[in-house]
């Protein structure tokens, strides 16, 4: 299996495994994935509890391995701080993840779905608005709880052998819960991947409505499978997911403002439809400007370094302060970015809708 820093597939086995799994997922998604959706519903309560068991088992293993006496919450907190999540330098080439990185990333790693509104492709079938609470179950149970459990198991692996830094969910789960753990990892991956390919297929089909959804989903699955073979993408998932979430986030803000807020400012919702235009410039510009601002903030340190190396500026204390203060890691930029996009859409709509009246 490729490592975190590999760029290209490094074995035939890896390529074949990705091709088989990706192909199967694409075929099932192309058939509409109704059976998988039903199966996922049955598996969900079981899967959540297996995640919880991972945490309990890992905790006990830590207690035994360290010989810690745990008689109170204070003892447990001490064990957590000194043995499980004790911190340390990041692996070479990786960002140091703090508590806030994990919190933000657990919240925003599915930002493309929740904030970027990709969820709407599934929630369009919802008969009650509160069905959207399902998204929070994904975040708080599927991310926060599952990740806490997974991190205990991984920390235990490192505790036993600090040189063993491989992140392999299958063996980790198998060591903690045997066959059930392994089954949980497979089902969790399967039931996550299928709706993703299904809605990606729907999205591509929206670009060419006359095309067959079956074929479009298969092609989408094939593209995703080929991409998955390259560790440059698969092993950089954190940054990649943050980036594609960032790309969709401003449009999620536009949809939210357009549906819930814009009439309160005396403006029209669905303005493109009302004015019979194929393109709403207020939405387009809000997306582009927000994305540009976010990318500049993420790359600010790099931009300043380049400008200094080209002799445009000389590095001063003030410039260093600007670099240190305003450079934002990609994991954190989306939250302020959402508000920037929302504000921009309102301001641009004020100008745009005054200029172009709807043709009633």
């Amino acid at each position: 299996m490729p490592g975190l820093n590999d760029l290209y597939p490094n074995s035939i086995g890896w390529v074949v495994a990705v091709a088989v799994v990706g192909g199967l997922i694409a075929i099932v998604a192309a058939y509409g994935y109704q059976t998988v959706a039903k199966f996922a519903n049955v598996a969900a309560p079981w899967m959540v509890l297996v995640f919880l068991v991972f945490g309990f088992v890992g905790l006990r293993q830590f207690i035994e391995a360290t010989g810690t006496e745990v008689g109170s919450m204070g003892d447990l907190w001490g064990l957590a701080k000194t043995e499980i999540w004790k911190g340390g330098p990041p692996q070479e080439g990786q960002v140091k993840f703090t508590f806030w990185h994990v919190t933000f990333f657990a919240w925003f790693c599915n930002m493309a779905m929740h904030i970027g509104m990709s969820d709407l492709s599934v929630f369009r079938f919802a008969r009650k608005s509160w069905y959207a609470i399902a998204s929070s179950a994904g975040m708080y149970v599927g991310h926060f709880m599952a990740w806490i459990s997974a991190s205990i198991l991984y920390a235990y692996q490192l505790h036993l052998n600090p040189a063993d830094t491989d992140v392999l969910p299958g063996p980790l789960a198998y060591r903690a819960a045997g066959l059930v753990g392994l089954l949980c990892v497979i089902i969790a991956g399967w039931t996550t991947a299928n709706p993703t390919i299904y809605r990606a297929g729907l999205a591509f089909q929206a670009l060419a409505p006359k095309s067959s959804r079956f074929k479009v989903t298969l092609i989408t699955g094939a593209i995703a499978t080929i991409a998955g073979m390259f560790p440059a993408i698969a092993m950089k998932l954190l940054g990649f997911v943050a980036l594609y979430g960032l790309v969709l986030m401003p449009m999620g803000a536009v949809i939210f403002v357009d549906f819930w807020l814009i009439r309160k400012f005396g403006l029209q919702s669905y303005y493109a439809e009302l004015s019979k235009r194929a393109f709403n410039w207020a939405a387009g510009l809000a997306w582009l400007v927000t994305l540009s601002i976010c990318l500049v903030l993420v790359k600010l340190g790099w931009i300043i370094d380049k400008l200094v190396s080209w002799g445009v500026f000389t590095m001063s204390d003030r410039l260093q302060w600007i670099k240190d203060t305003f450079t934002v890691q990609i994991f954190f930029v989306s939250l302020p970015g959402w508000f920037v996009a929302a504000l921009l859409y309102i301001v641009l709509s004020k100008l745009y809708q005054r200029k172009i009246r709807p043709t009633e």
């Binding site: 049955v42 598996a43 509890l49 819960a177």
Partner: protein, 64 residues
């Protein structure tokens, strides 16, 4: 029948989780936990499918 299946599947979920709590308290071997979880998993999927699958089918027919 449906109520019986629901009760058994609920008990299966308890049987899935409880051994790990006992293990955490230091009163059970990990191998025993794994075996009990496997049995509970089989019972869950057999019994829950019996009532949840039908529910979903009805739902999608209504939606369609």
């Amino acid at each position: 029948m449906r109520s019986i299946l629901q009760i058994i599947s609920l008990l299966a979920l308890i049987a899935l989780t409880l051994p790990s709590v006992i293990f955490l308290a230091g009163n059970m071997e990990l191998n025993t936990v794994k075996w009990l979880m496997l049995v509970a998993t089989i019972v869950w999927f057999v019994t829950a499918t019996g009532w949840m699958w039908k529910d979903n089918g009805t739902e999608s027919q209504q939606a369609g």
